[in-house]
């Protein structure tokens, strides 16, 4: 009985995307460059707010 329930592939892909994107965005946190005065980490997080639901709408069933 020890296993996990099977997750829909679209949902699994969404979860993987969310975690991977967050890890990637946080890897930019030490960057000293600026785009319009704002760090790339800030822009990556802003983009995340739009990308997260769009990716699940595309991948989820």
């Amino acid at each position: 009985m020890g296993g996990f329930f099977r997750m829909d592939r679209g949902d699994l892909a969404t979860v993987v995307f969310l975690v991977a994107y967050a890890a990637l965005a946080f890897s930019l946190i030490g960057s000293e460059s600026r785009w319009a005065g704002v760090s790339p980490f800030g822009w990556a997080m802003a983009a995340f707010m739009f990308l997260a639901p769009l990716v699940h709408l595309l991948l989820g069933r």
Partner: protein, 482 residues
């Protein structure tokens, strides 16, 4: 007192109460209608209602204040967590929870773990954390009314509270859903209109950002807090939509699992537009025109006054902030009421209580919970955004492993849930109150520990009953008959 602004606000309040009275006809004889709007809410309505429930007073006043004080990267880390948390909830919990046909978060624990200790502990955590959240919202309403209506803080808090308690207590989830749609549209309209005015004034987004970051270079940089605080702010809100009752209950109210998933994602898209463009305009213009502002929570109201000087528009601005407060607070209060009545009273005191008795008791508990929040809001703590984020951290640390692993791990059992809830709650509380870790970073320790405890205790104790595992298995693929 400012008469025009006051009249506009009163008209808005009358509309909310009117909706509550209308909804009362639908809910007084059906607990399903009271708690989950009869499970008949469609995608469009639920998306706006979800967005309004998520976008609290903190999202209108607090987000711009936080951006102004802590910089764009910090505020976007926190709110990206909230935004990404909705698709996470849609992927991880929405479908099985909706298919189980439950009405409250504690009901999931009752169904999945069948433990009186867990059944007692979960509603208690829900009540404590949601009350803290409500107090924070009431302060936002009070501050706004003081500034834009010219009435005193205590009067504003009491009026706001009486209005939302009235329509929640008589109209339940139907009243909340319909008022939330109106409130959601109103707050998005006001924030985006203000942002548009700011961008027009500066000639676009880039010019206002360049001016703001030239005036204060730290505004665009990762400097305000240690990196663990950025990560903690993100994680607290990333997991929130999976466990916070007032958001999860919106999943239960939908027509079907597909509607739940779609509306979660549409809600985030609307929310993202409001937060991103609101912060880029309002927090930024603060560094250009209001750099010496002492109370950052007043920034949105200052910017409104500068760019939208019309008094009717000012009245709409007050209504928009009230809307943000009420649309979150009403759902929070319903979550508290359901935890007390549905999950404690009906579970432990009177399991055979008829629907009309449950309804009457719900009305009474809604008033008690609301008035208790008013009592604390009249003397509010100072760091409210941090306080209610800490409350969300507490509920996440204690309940997330039991919800997520309860849905996905066949071996998850009551002993694991009980141990994880206790350890998650007490460890988080200890770290917040007795250590000096960076703000909001406590969850980075308490959540993994809570997951580990759940896994270890479940692995070392007896397997859950086979029929429970079969029930959860069915909920992954089909709606369970009521």
């Amino acid at each position: 007192m400012r008469t025009v602004e006051f009249v506009v606000t009163v008209l808005y309040i009358v509309l909310c109460v009117g909706i509550g009275i209308w909804a009362n006809k639908r809910v007084s004889n059906s607990t399903d209608d009271y708690w989950v709007a009869g499970r008949k809410v469609g995608t469009f309505v639920n998306a706006w209602a979800l967005m309004a429930a998520l976008a609290s007073g903190g999202s209108v006043l607090g987000v711009n204040a936080l951006g102004f004080r802590m910089g764009i990267p910090y505020v976007f880390a926190m709110f990206a967590g909230a935004a990404a948390g909705f698709p996470l909830a849609a992927a991880l919990v929405a479908k099985p929870l909706r298919n189980l046909r439950i009405r409250t978060v504690p009901e999931f624990f009752k169904l999945r773990y069948r433990s009186p200790w867990v059944d007692f502990l979960v509603p208690l955590i829900v009540v404590i954390t949601m009350e803290v959240y409500v107090v924070a919202q009431l302060k936002a309403a009070g501050v706004t009314a003081v500034y834009l209506l010219g009435i005193d803080y205590n009067t504003a808090v009491i009026i706001t509270s009486v209005v939302f308690i009235l329509y929640v207590s008589i109209g339940g989830m139907w009243a909340i859903t319909l008022t939330d749609v109106i409130q959601g549209v109103l707050m998005v309209f006001m924030v985006l209109l203000t942002a548009l005015m700011v961008f027009s004034d500066f000639g676009g987004i880039t010019p206002v950002l360049v001016q703001a970051t030239t005036a204060n270079p730290a505004y665009g940089a990762v400097r305000a807090m240690p990196i663990s605080s950025y990560l903690g702010a993100f994680v607290v809100w990333f997991i929130a939509a999976c466990v916070i009752p007032h958001l999860v209950m919106r999943v239960f109210s939908t027509r079907d699992a597909r509607t739940a998933r779609l509306s979660l994602n549409y809600a985030v898209l609307i929310y993202a537009f409001m937060i991103v463009f609101g912060v880029l305009a309002i927090s930024s213009v603060g560094h250009v025109y209001f750099a010496d502002l002492k109370d950052a929570d007043m920034l949105f109201l200052k910017v409104i006054e500068r760019y939208l000087p019309n008094r009717i528009v000012n009245g709409l601005a007050v209504s928009a902030v009230m809307a943000a407060v009420m649309s979150t607070t009403d759902a929070l209060i319903l979550a508290v009421t359901s935890a007390v009545v549905n999950d404690l009273y009906v579970r432990f005191v009177d399991p055979a209580a008829p629907a009309n008795k449950v309804y009457r008791l719900s009305v009474a508990v809604t008033w008690i919970a609301g008035l208790l929040a008013v009592f604390f809001a009249l003397n509010p703590p100072k760091l409210l955004t941090m306080l209610y984020t800490a409350a969300v951290g507490l509920i996440g640390s204690s309940l997330l492993p039991s919800v997520v692993l309860g849905i996905w791990w066949k071996r998850a059992n009551a002993q694991g849930a009980f141990a994880s809830i206790l350890v998650g709650a007490f460890l988080y509380g200890y770290l917040v109150w007795f250590t000096k870790l960076p703000a909001l970073s406590h969850i980075l320790i308490s959540l993994p520990v809570s997951f580990a405890v759940f896994y270890l205790v479940s692995s070392m104790t007896q397997e859950p009953p086979r029929d429970v595992v079969e029930l959860v298995a069915r909920a992954h693929s089909q709606e369970i008959a009521g």
